[in-house]
Amino acid sequence: MRFLAGDGEGFERLMTRYRQRAYGIALSLTGNHDDAMDAMQKAFIRVHRSLPKFRIDDPFFPWLYRIVRNAAHNQRRDEKRHKGEVPLEWVRKSDGRPDPLSETVADDLRERIWNGLQEMPEEMRVVFHHYHFEGLKYREIADLMDLPIGTVMSRLHAARLKLRQAADLEELL
């Protein structure tokens, strides 16, 4: 890992493996694409600079996660809010239609869910992101965020209740 600090291509390959996960985390914290990319740039520079000091026995992703999280926090604090388009998409089925809703309802719902996510407290949103968009298990989220598993459970539940209310999902449920 240390040698990568002086190897541009190796560093780029390493970060390319993690970029989508890192982007998702930055996005869930900043709330929009532009700020997420900006935070990612700052985080990647920090990672590049700090690689020589990285302890090779430690897992890489939790370390990267903390750097991205802090960069995203700073970004959210320092920059004025951009809005931009909704960075969520439906996983398409083989027939090309979003499942399980019609196209019109799906687009509207996509926006309501994203806005609902932005309205909820960050600690809930991040847990929701890890579970739903990263597909992590409760134990994995607890380890990554250094939280008791019961806290993960209650934050995820609270996030779902908030989302149901904020995104006005009652009619669909």
Binding site: Q20, R110, L156, R164
Partner: protein
Amino acid sequence: MNGKGPFDPRKEAPLLSAYVDGELETVDVDRIEAHLAENEQTRREVRELRRLKDITGVMRIKEPPPEEWEVFWKSVYNRAERSLGWILLCVGLVAIGAWGITEILSAMLETEALPLYVKGGIFVLAAGALVLMISAIRERVYKRKQTRYKDVIR
């Protein structure tokens, strides 16, 4: 008996999410299912949680297109270059500033025109500034050593 007693939806509501996600131990699954068998309101709650999970389960974060990642990497390298430029600029300024201050102080202390107590004052002022600077640097170094994730941006 499992020792936990019957499931109480008012106090243990988060367990319902964990139930829907299949994250509960058998003992809690049994407690919830016993409760569900008798309680329509909780059954509805579980149905709604399942539906919400179904909806969010078919959503994902859009991946930025490849051309955007190309621009991203160029910006990362440009930024890294600029930050190196800033570091060099600051080091140069500090070196030149230190030389300038030393020259000014030496000239002041060597001049015959200033009375001895003013020279003493200048010397004490410079010593005070030096002590403050060393103290601030030492504190920063100490904090970096003590912080586990010292490489993380604060």
